[in-house]
Symmetry: C2
Subunit: 558 residues, 2 copies
Amino acid sequence: MSEKVVVIGGVAAGASAAAKARRTDEFSKIIIFERGPYVSFANCGLPYYLGGEIKERDELFLVTPERFKERFNIDVFVNHEVVKIHRDRKTVEVINHKSGERFEESYTKLMIATGGIPVRPPLEGADLKNIHSLWTVPDVDAVKTLVDSGRVRHAVIMGGGFVGIETAEALLQKGIQVTIVEKGNQLLSPWDPEMAGLVAQQLRRMGANVRLDVGIRRFLGAKTVETVELMDSTRLPADLVIISAGVQPELDLVVGAGLELGVTGGVLVNSRMQTSDPDIYAGGDIVESTHFITGQKVRVPLAGPANKQGRVAGANMVGGNMEFRGVINTSIIKVGPMTAARTGLNEKEAREAGLDYYTTFTVSPDHAGYYPGAEPMIVKLIVEKLSGRLLGGQVVGTRGIDKRIDILATAIYGKMTVFDLENLDLAYAPPFSSAKDPCIMAGFVAANVARGELQTVTGMEVLERLAEGRDVQILDVRTPDEYTRGHIPGAVNIPVDQFRNRLHEIDKTKEKILYCGIGYRSYLAYKILEHHGFKNIKNLGAGYHGWKMVEGLRNRKQ
Amino acid sequence: MSEKVVVIGGVAAGASAAAKARRTDEFSKIIIFERGPYVSFANCGLPYYLGGEIKERDELFLVTPERFKERFNIDVFVNHEVVKIHRDRKTVEVINHKSGERFEESYTKLMIATGGIPVRPPLEGADLKNIHSLWTVPDVDAVKTLVDSGRVRHAVIMGGGFVGIETAEALLQKGIQVTIVEKGNQLLSPWDPEMAGLVAQQLRRMGANVRLDVGIRRFLGAKTVETVELMDSTRLPADLVIISAGVQPELDLVVGAGLELGVTGGVLVNSRMQTSDPDIYAGGDIVESTHFITGQKVRVPLAGPANKQGRVAGANMVGGNMEFRGVINTSIIKVGPMTAARTGLNEKEAREAGLDYYTTFTVSPDHAGYYPGAEPMIVKLIVEKLSGRLLGGQVVGTRGIDKRIDILATAIYGKMTVFDLENLDLAYAPPFSSAKDPCIMAGFVAANVARGELQTVTGMEVLERLAEGRDVQILDVRTPDEYTRGHIPGAVNIPVDQFRNRLHEIDKTKEKILYCGIGYRSYLAYKILEHHGFKNIKNLGAGYHGWKMVEGLRNRKQ
């Protein structure tokens, strides 16, 4: 028996659901109502269209309504807003915004994929002209027109998340002075602070002004915005403001229909993407998902899960039987030549989930150092104590970051431990990796820690010890040249190759923190000390890199 | 109690073992004897030094004997050949090739890492000048001197494996006419023939002459080689011959010492890398390993396993307790702009292991099609029937190939199924991937097949049906333009968007094979046919790409 499927919202989850429903059943009637003027557009591509990497506006449209009709026999109605769901009579009430017409459409199965809308903070002056989000095609059209007019010299970006940073880069490329204002104490909240700090450093290198720990008080101007006033009373000139202060799920229809919400405030769905009404499905930015590691409910408004959820819902609405298995919140962002990526739990999430964990930092080249073009990356692992289970990973660098985060994401999905990670059989040839891939190297170190062969300390922890004035001996085991070019305050220089002959210079009583450039030479020195009976030794993860990351955080506030 | 560790062979496994032994125990005495003039050199980098990517010869040396001494307190003796192991008195007999001196050195733990030596086929003329392997630094020095002299116009490469192909590329870059002669019916035997065929096509596009299915009969010339005569009596001019016809384990010492060999002919070791003598360890190209999927013994002479085996042996010799968990034979090769990679079992290996499997082919862009620079890749999966367990993967394309093979290798290591693969939570942003990553897309298709939602046929199977003159209806669902530019012989063109209206043109009685450009439009057409009651439908994996791969194989023999 075929269904009459109505899909509300025609972008990621909605479009996927409709197409999968058609592939699952040729005879169901399938209708998409989309409030906006476009379906199936490349939401994630908008900043790149603004920045000019994507040259043609048409590239943003993945599947047109005409294509939906002729290829999938799916009827798409754009500029059609569903304003109410009548569960009692199984209809939706629709307004055609072009004609003003209002009508009811019946369904046997309904898919709600209304997505999110950018949070619009209730600030004075927020209705001035040239204050925009960057969420839809009309949004980018408006901003691009403004930018291309050449009249924008100063832009302020409210919020340091994905869209904010990607838009900052696009505007910097256009020669515009950009300030990112983030009221939290770091950019990119899904990352840990020291990893996000690398992104802030990168944005500053690219010329952006990054302001953390301060919110926006109000927008000033006659008709168009001219000035942004911060909570600390700083005033920034602004011909353009981009609001990227988060996205909230568009839940009016869901709430109006009396469907259950979950603990996160997202729509409650089961693994088949069914809401509390078994004939109504939901997916994408509005639903809450199960976290694959913790089993807890989370909202992860990203394109990958949305597409998969849509596919599952689409199949199930017309007789299929698929499941969405949950999320680990893998994500990635390009910032100029830098890439930052993360997967699984960050430290804050691991703490909140009540997990006992440790972290490791390693620095490795993306491919064999003897083949040209190798670039270092920092890999951070979050690992469950005792079990050694991989809980999370974060990688920042310039080349091959996407590969390493996907290896870690796959390992987390496979419930692997760091003992698995160090044994992975990955592809090696000089242009692509080393015989010891960065992920394997991270596995080596994390497994060494788990086996008790190594105790580490993070840059953050060194920073804390210094701030507390604790009596530690910091040993820099690099060459005198490296030491002279910069070192941790108070560090004593004993090059690793002289270590065996200079053990008498090392204090037996104090805690000893060893570091080198990336953590490998100091690991050798660590083992020498340990074997000579020294106690209370720590190796600084990622070495001087690990220090520079957090040293930057000290100077974070501008 | 500290050990006296003697390591025979100072490259990958030997060097790793010595360094890990030192990190595990500061007080053991550690000695490396290396027959050749160099330790710890970048074996895998030799073709790139020849080709000029690696500019400095010094780059090839990863750790010098001096560095071993001062940093690791390890004594390295190069040009020192161990000629006999006296297990009764726990000594090795050593010849110093510089001085001619012969002496015995005692050990408490011995590591054998003698590696492989290139097979030197016993052919007429094989001792002529300018016939070389490319296995050691002296090898590459000799070849580079010859090439840089400008006197090499024609080179013949015997054997189409890793070294043969990488050397072919290096010589082509130098403007030399190159012929690869491979006596098997494909290059790169670890890959399946149709995937290896893409590499052969690529080499031909780069100007190489690739001769398959024919061996070399003899080498002709006065003092230096001038002509290579093939088994079919073809004569090829040759100023230089590279022998890359495989590598055999260097087992003289092992056999002489009466240590047990395994079923593959490699040294038998346990997971702690111990040989049949518990005080003697081995690793690298000479040992046999356990295949992670089949549990069978295999020899995988690659750098990744060698380094890990060395690390395990090194720790265990001085009191550690580590295990080497086995191999899945992940490997990768760059061929001009193309990359080919593989992991797990290929079809032949799956058959030989008695596994019931199916294969899928998918073509996907390496990143979002709307972001510039996206390039297609072909992903082949080998999947166990019933369980859906991923047995193997092969990926060929130009960008992001290393990432996808490592995702698949990690998934195989995690014993994942295609249902896991389709659910992976990978990193998506337009420059790096699509919301449906090539691995996820491959998982979608393979899981659809496992669920019975789709039956596929491979290009090979279409080729067989045509060769047998079977009465199939081949339906090309692309546009008329695409069809006109090239199609499978006998195919009828019914574009997918006209499919619903032209069902009467389709033969109910015959087997129907559907294809498009990559397999997605034909999948839609397949579902339309199926829902309209048609039986015996197959979708051609990778579409016209899948055909072009095997069509190339038909014309393989030159």
